[in-house]
Symmetry: C2
Subunit: 214 residues, 2 copies
DNA sequence: GGCATATCGATAACAACATATCGATATGCC
DNA sequence: GGCATATCGATATGTTGTTATCGATATGCC
């Protein structure tokens, strides 16, 4: 299979293209060029073309790409069409917000339930999703073959909970806890760490202020 | 000033070092070497040393770095000591979760209020933070010199709201909306996009599964 | 005090990514 | 039908980030 490994940076941009293409659908136009797309998104023309080339082969000179085809190819590539089940671990404010967020369906993610160490939080949320006691984690993950877990517990128990998730067969963790997780080699961690984002933002903000004061 | 521009990748790792160093404090040890730190965090030894070199000059052969000094240098560098005020725009579930999240203080961020287009959401949250009508945005940001905004509105109005934030004098936006924002050159956007994270996770998950089935 | 060793900082090789350039090809106009 | 042009895909160059190597230095032991 020609799953030529795609670069991480490209992968980060693909959802942006997809999003923009979808917003173009109501307009009725059928084709779009890499040039136009690049202009609209404030990116380099060549970069867009190169990114698109990694998921599509259908670019035609003078006319560009067929929008609907491109959308389908992107969605397939990103796995938005084959739905993955996932669980949320940690039913604090953020955890419950994610649990009830219905936008995940657009990304091929179906959150089936949440877990929390505090049995008092067990129950059913506004949107009908269940919150279980942590004790049920292993059994439920195994039974439903859950491979993706969303971690939203406080930093001090993140590693311990992460270990349990791994033991339950979870292979990919979306980590919202402000902690660095150590996992076996075959497990993936994607950090969605606010501290990190703030570090970048704050540093760049400081830099631009210094620059503008020169 | 020797603010040699630091790489984004390094910047992402600095909070991780800081976090780990802090967790080491109760242990009572006074020094740590880049080697040890690298081992604990599963990173390259050289990389750690290089990263630390960009914020500190105090590394001594044979003993390593003074932990408390390093923590202070990191905190100063990351701006955790000089508090920045920020506002949340969009008081949906995520917005309110962020508003009530008290962990931001650790990162030098003080969320003063939230705004929402739905006047019905105006009021005060559990933790005493105010939610205002969007109309108040411009005035309050100007008056308090707010420079950082956290954007948590639906994708379809993200750009419009972003424009208003920019007009209100906000210079840095932490964007949780699944949308690509177009901003003036002097404004910073840090995307905290779940779609993107999922794209990466899902793609890598697929790859590892393919690989392991060979 | 001198030597072995852990560790540092710097320089250099390497890899990944972004940007620029160029020929090729399909469309539309004359 | 032939030519001009928009656009594509590919190759080449430059930039940035990572990894490896090496000499320098401070500590602890003999």
């Amino acid at each position: 299979m020609a799953t030529r490994s795609i670069s991480k940076s490209t992968l980060q941009r693909l959802p942006i293209y997809l999003m923009h293409l979808k917003s173009l659908l109501p307009g009725g136009q059928s084709h779009i060029s890499a040039t136009t797309l690049a202009l609209a998104l404030g990116m380099g023309e060549v970069q867009v073309r190169k990114d698109l080339a990694s998921v599509s082969e259908a670019g035609k000179p003078k006319v560009g790409y067929v929008i609907t085809d491109l959308i389908e190819e992107l969605e397939n590539f990103l796995g938005y069409n084959d739905v993955d089940d996932a669980v949320v671990v940690g039913a604090g404010k953020l955890g419950r917000a994610l649990l009830d967020y219905n936008g995940f369906a657009n990304y091929g993610l179906n959150i089936v339930a949440a877990f929390d160490i505090d049995a008092g939080k067990s129950g059913v949320t506004d949107t009908g999703k269940s919150i279980f006691d942590m004790q049920k984690l292993e059994e439920l993950c195994a039974r439903l073959c859950i491979r993706i877990g969303i971690l939203t517990v406080p930093a001090d128990c993140a590693q311990a909970v992460c270990d349990r998730m791994v033991k339950s067969g979870i292979l990919a963790i979306l980590n919202f806890a402000p902690a660095h997780l150590i996992v076996p080699e075959n497990v993936l961690v994607q950090n969605e760490n606010i501290a990190t984002s703030l570090a970048i933002l704050s540093n760049r903000l400081k830099e631009t202020i210094i620059k503008s004061s020169i």
